[in-house]
Symmetry: C3
Subunit: 309 residues, 3 copies
């Protein structure tokens, strides 16, 4: 794995095609472990990984925790409301303390974009993994999305991938766009123009009509709607949103037979998609969840090869 | 243990006498482990058990967690307020995610009766253990109660067991009544008529006078009073409750010399019983706690023999 | 380690010089483990340690949890708001339950002084470690402070140690004063007279002027200011506090070249000290954090040699 030289995974924007391929390949080698009788390897025995979550997240936290335990690492969970952290200094103090407690890897989710980068820069001997920073990036989610596509289609290059929803506020969309383009997929986005980042058309083909957008796509990622954004003025009603951008049975009927349906979870059933779509045979949403553990094991392992002193 | 064929433990209503006996026997074989210097066996090494608690519970959660760790399983704790779970679908989504994260066994406590049954039915390859569902059942509590009786008296058949308190709202009472009757104990209940389920007299002898009820009993289980039910109109004042249904020193004096005092914990001292009863030599309340770990180890083990793919 | 005969660590007031020395020596032997590739020894494999925190504390809890995991113990974390614990009996009930669940060591933090002592007395076969009880003691903090001084200066005897801040309400100060005096250090304290305990001058030299107090000291421990005490009337404004008792660059300039700056963390930057002091080369604050894990491993180990049945 000599291509991997980083002690941190901060975002897909920074990674090369070769680095992303190295992660996906390593994840592929870890995946069979998840279905063995003893789902454990001693790779990180004696290591300590701190999961530092400043935003609530059951799914991502549990996925990381299981990846760590399957590598035999010791884990420490620290959850904190952002309200108790007033200054960037305090975040850095928390992280420096974890380093002094001899945690070698910190997984961090934070509402402020760039928080993981600050830690990575200031803690020279600690590996930092971004588990979501503000609306910036959520690289492990995009990597598990790409892993799931590669597993399904045998390749990422040339795949036509559509991302549907609130592109403007989505770190999942942002990481996928960086990553998929590096892997030479064709990326399109679809959603209300009010929820499109400025200049997005330089990176992805932009649709506002879902029916048009769905034509000839290999994979469609529906983003989770943040209900709290409802009153922002940027956003139609939930009913209207579902009518315009939700996946319905009727739309499924017109879809190409090979297209897969993806979602980072948890699905707002009846909004991003109807239950029959989420639970249907074209949905790979639960495969994404399984692949998340393999991808996170791969990242932890690769980072450990660099951090190891 | 060929009698055990179930991937789930949902309630004692469904179990046969032979199945209950198999659990109690397995628990008996695990109990000595709790007093060994190294309190661990590798039985579930590499397995993952998710503890999914939608109602707060320190005791039951810690007891399960220790049982899991002593079997060398990896554990994940997920606590969630019911308020954040609006629809049954969401519970199922959470559980499906845990399956996809490759958790083989889910321990679930939920305020809705039947929630564990829904999961068990929909997740064909995951073991589900009911840690309390609404006012329906709390099978592991009843099993540890029965284990404690068997340990003390050498048998359950023919024992005269009295359950005292709010029978109507008690899943502990319900599970004990199902289980004890299958094991051929004679079950009686005692409490205000307003707190008796309709038709209970078909399953147990009903007393409203505690002094009468206590005569010639082998074991008396006092149920924990839910203080929040106080203003329901069904319930006397705490002082009145204690006077009528609380265990006092005077009542202890009139008790048969072999009768044991039980309680699922935590005791409201001065309400269900005075401290001298709870801490006295006839109380086996703390033995119940120890036995809970052995019984939960047994259930986890038996279920693992069926879930193991 | 034949000098150690205690099943509990309740406070430094009770310990002999020899016992403190035994802890520091044992910690010294554990410290190199923290920098090995596999940071684990099997010393407490199969043991269960319950961390019972009735006051919120991320740092101390994580430090204990890591110490336990590095000794291969199983750990259970129980956090509880004091509000849910109305009576001392209930605390004792919780602890008795943990004993019945076969937890051999309980680490307890509680807002009531003496809570750990109650448990230690009533649970004859369980080791109890005080992780902070009200304003009484915080012995593991003082031990890690002393360990850090010994590591830096090669000895504690004869060291001139100054403690600055709210001495009256500080369990850290109290434990340090007991411990340092036993180890024959010269202890001074500095702070507003309103925040000095009555009779403190029998145990330590008392300063109210920081500039005078700093002269010729080897180690200066700055205590964390509890901002919630601000409106108590005992306390100057934060700005005034910093002016009178805060460590500034100017004061650093006048300090003896060997003096080290200590703080139990987390530092209120700009109040107890300016950031350049906290992060400067005279600060050993982060070394204290690392040493805390070694000291807690030592205490857990020593106690286990007595508890082991």
């Amino acid at each position: 794995m000599s291509v991997w030289k980083r002690k941190d995974l901060l975002g897909l924007r920074d990674l090369s095609r070769e680095e992303i391929a190295a992660i996906l390949e390593t994840a592929k080698s870890f995946k069979p472990l998840l279905f063995r009788e003893v789902k454990k390897v001693p790779t990180l025995k004696g290591w300590t990984v701190a999961n530092l979550f400043f935003e609530p997240s059951t799914r991502t936290r549990v996925s990381f925790e299981l990846a760590e335990k399957r590598l035999s690492a010791d884990t420490v969970n620290i959850s904190s409301s952002v309200s108790s952290v007033i200054k960037g200094e305090t975040l850095l103090d928390t992280a420096k303390n974890l380093r002094s407690l001899v945690c070698e890897i910190i997984v961090i989710r934070h509402s402020i974009a760039g928080a993981p980068h600050l830690l990575a820069k200031r803690l020279a001997d600690v590996g930092v993994i971004n588990a979501g920073d503000g609306i910036n990036e959520h690289p492990t989610q995009a990597l598990l999305d790409m892993f799931s596509m590669q597993e399904r289609f045998g390749r990422i290059e040339g795949l036509r991938v559509l991302i549907v929803g609130d592109i403007l506020h989505s770190r999942v969309a942002r990481s996928n766009i960086w990553g998929l383009r590096k892997m030479k997929a064709e990326v399109s986005v679809c959603g209300p123009l009010t929820l499109m980042p400025k200049g997005i058309d330089k990176f992805a083909r932009v649709y506002t009509n879902l029916d048009e957008a769905l034509i000839d796509k290999d994979a469609v990622i529906f983003l989770r709607i943040q209900r709290e954004r409802q009153n922002s003025g940027l956003f139609p009603s939930l009913r209207e949103y579902h009518r315009l951008y939700g996946m319905t049975e009727e739309r499924m009927g017109r879809l190409s037979s090979k297209t897969v349906i993806m979602h980072p979870g948890p699905v707002n059933r009846g909004i991003e998609m109807v239950p029959m779509v989420a639970d249907g045979d074209r949905s790979i949403i639960l495969e994404q969840v399984t692949n998340g553990v393999a991808v996170r094991m791969a990242i932890l392992y690769l980072i450990s090869t660099v951090v190891r002193r």
